[in-house]
């Protein structure tokens, strides 16, 4: 019988002890699997929901400063940008030129809703068609008209239906008050987001008029990539290429960092800011990353405690099996084999515990993913269809598996080496 088989058999000899030790390991793995799964689920939903909201994966904005220090976002001639995107052979799904009003007041006779308004081309080739589900009306005839597309939640809050008038109030680029009337042309399904985040859409011409931009101007050049996960890679490549062509650029940063640069630095003319979807989400990703780090730290502390338990247990096991070790040694088993017998036993115990903990963790996550959380209105930006997404990070599982198995083996190493050092005669003399 091989050492490995003997180790497996030994595990079943002391079932209660094995179950308790394996259970402790399983519990630790269960906790880390659930925490990893929850944070992964939240960040994945957040990324998907935000990428549905924003007009691109890589963004370039033209920034000017007025004589009175007001920051103005406007750009018109973007041939250089488009040419650079083509020259770099960036795998682009589409390019969107949009004008964004971050906080517009949508006013009806029944109420007011503050939300973003995006002006864009709503024609048949517009990216918007793949982003939203129209539940009432259609986007036909939006181009060049004063029709507005709003979310179901917004329509409900404003008490409006198709054809009703909604006044939109905002500041112009230079700080003047402006208001225009829109007619509700279509209503789209709430994308599992708070209504205030969902945003409204209208033809770019009329939104430019509301923002007092010149015809043909817009505030945002957005690049939709085939693969959103390459946003940082292509964003960096585009930044370097534009910089090489002497386009005046702001340093890379999150939108918040860029706002600080706009405010604090003096400059003239137009300078361009480039950021990616990941820059927008970096703050939130940082929070989730920190949570994962804390969870892993707790796991390590938990396993230090478990390691002490494993060490003590195996000291006891070695003590209990001293005569057995003597017999095995007398029959010709070598010291490393005796040591490995205990190490294998500990590693098998860890692997079983890890497997059980992982499976139970996945079952818990699956159960959580079935819970309807539609009442969590303030947090549904973190949900998909009002539910948690089932997210299992196999990479993280493999990492935890290696770390925990190694820690368990390390915990068992001291008693295992002690067992290996016993001489046959000494072991056989023991009376316990």
């Amino acid at each position: 019988m091989s050492v490995s088989s003997m180790a497996l058999k030994n595990l079943t000899r002391q079932k209660r002890r094995s179950v308790l030790l394996g259970g402790a390991i399983a519990f630790g793995i269960l906790i880390i699997t659930v925490v990893d799964g929850l944070s992964g689920s939240l960040i994945t939903s957040l990324e998907a929901n935000i990428s549905n909201l924003v007009p691109g994966h890589i963004f370039v904005r033209g920034v000017e400063k007025s004589d009175k220090g007001r920051i103005i976002f406007a750009m018109k001639d973007t041939d250089l940008l488009e040419k650079t995107v083509r020259d770099l052979k960036i795998p682009v799904k589409s390019i969107a030129k949009t004008t964004t009003i971050e906080q517009a007041a949508l006013i009806s006779d029944l109420g007011t809703q503050y939300q973003g308004l995006t002006g864009l081309d709503l024609g048949p080739t517009s990216y918007i068609h793949s982003r939203i589900v129209i539940v009432e009306g259609s986007l036909d005839g939006f181009t060049g008209s004063n029709k507005i597309l709003i979310a179901e939640g917004t329509a409900k809050k404003l008490g409006v239906k198709l054809g009703d008038t909604v006044s939109v109030q905002c500041e112009t680029q230079t700080g003047q008050q402006n208001v225009l009337d829109f007619s509700v042309g279509a209503i789209y399904k709430d994308p599992g987001l708070a209504a205030s985040l969902a945003g409204a859409y209208a033809d770019i011409g009329i939104v430019d008029r509301l923002r007092a931009l010149a015809p043909g101007e817009y505030t945002n050049f957005g690049v939709f990539l085939d693969d959103v996960s390459t946003a940082d890679q292509w964003g960096t490549a585009l930044y370097k290429a534009l910089d090489a062509q002497k386009l005046p650029l702001w340093s890379r940063g999150t939108p918040q960092d860029l706002q600080t640069q706009f405010r604090d630095q003096g400059w003239k003319g137009t300078r361009y800011a480039l950021f990616t979807l990941n820059d927008i989400l970096s703050f939130l990703k940082g929070i989730f990353g920190a949570l994962n780090g804390i969870a892993f730290g707790i796991l390590l502390v938990l396993f230090l405690v478990i390691m002490v338990g494993i060490t003590n247990t195996y000291r006891m096991v070695v003590y209990e099996r001293t005569r057995e070790i003597g017999t095995l040694r007398a029959l010709g088993m070598q010291r490393p084999q005796i040591r490995n017998l205990f190490l294998f036993e500990a590693v098998y115990l860890a692997l079983v515990g890890i497997a059980v903990g992982f499976v139970v963790g996945v079952v818990v996550l699956w159960g959580l993913s079935l819970v309807d959380l539609s009442s969590w209105k303030d947090f549904n930006v973190l949900l998909k269809d009002n539910k948690l997404q089932l997210f299992v990070d196999l990479g993280s599982f493999v990492f935890n598996l290696v770390v925990v198995a190694a820690l368990t083996a390390l915990a068992a190493l001291f008693p295992a080496r002690r067992a290996g050092r016993l001489t046959p005669a000494e072991a056989l003399r023991t009376t316990n």
């Binding site: 007041a105 006013i107 109030q169 230079t174 700080g175 003047q176 008050q177």
Partner: protein, 248 residues
């Protein structure tokens, strides 16, 4: 007799029109500014009461400091408790907001609403009608039995909160009694009423103001100024450090 009365009425109207032609309305706007802007410092306690349909009235109190000659003001929120310590500091064309909770300053625009009321941040700054606007149309009418000039003005630059305003100025006092504020698209957005002035050393301070939102039906904000004073204020009041200091 009837013919005589008609001639008299026609002559009266023509006379009024001729008189209006002779009036320098830009000078009237300058007079409005001159009478309501203080050469030295001024301060008062302000109560802001906002009414919105379907919501409880929101009552706020603040201490308001002005230094018109230097184009500065400071507003320090006193009530409600949740807003206590927040501050608005205007220096030149910048309005800075201080939040004691986060201990951070942020930049605001003059066209932003003051504490979610119908008053604008720019309503607290020195009057600059003559500097900001050109006169485009005038008439004369009675407003609540008071003889007023009705002057329609358009902004000289594109960074004035309201691109067009229609102001009612009392003929006898050159005080602003009412203002209709229009958007760039020429929609009436807000009606402002100046109900009461107090005379302090020859200058006038509006102590009762009402701002009615013409877009959001039923939204009204009343501003009441009490305990006005012209006592000189320390320079430190108009600094960011002051806002931090009063919150320590």
């Amino acid at each position: 007799m009837k013919r005589f009365l008609m001639i008299l009425a026609t002559a009266g109207l023509l006379g009024a029109a001729a008189a209006a032609d002779d009036v320098d309305f830009h000078a009237i706007l300058a007079k409005v500014d001159e009478q309501t802007n203080f050469k030295g410092d001024a301060s008062a306690k302000v109560t802001i009461q906002s009414k919105k349909p379907g919501e409880d009235d929101n009552i706020m109190q603040a201490q308001y400091f002005r230094r018109d000659a230097a184009n500065k003001f400071m507003i320090l929120m006193l009530k409600p408790e949740v807003n206590k310590g927040q501050g608005y500091l205007k220096i030149d064309s910048n309005i800075i907001f201080y939040d004691p909770e986060s201990r951070k300053f942020s930049k605001l625009t003059g066209s932003g609403n003051f504490q979610d009321s119908n008053a604008k941040n720019s309503d607290f700054q020195a009057s600059s009608l003559a500097q900001d606007y050109d006169v485009v149309e005038t008439s004369r009418e009675k407003l609540l039995a008071k003889d007023t000039w009705v002057i329609t003005v358009k902004a000289k630059t594109n960074d004035i909160t309201y691109p067009k305003r229609k102001v009612w100025v009392e003929v006898s006092t050159n005080l602003l009694l009412k203002s209709e504020d229009y958007s760039l698209s020429d929609r009436l957005m807000r009606t402002s009423l100046y109900g009461k002035y107090v005379n302090i050393d020859g200058k006038f301070l509006a102590t009762r103001m009402r701002f009615e939102d013409n877009l959001k039906k039923g939204e009204v904000t009343d501003l009441i100024l009490e305990n006005p004073s012209l006592a000189p204020l320390p320079d430190a009041v108009f600094t960011q450090a002051y806002l931090e200091k009063v919150n320590n």
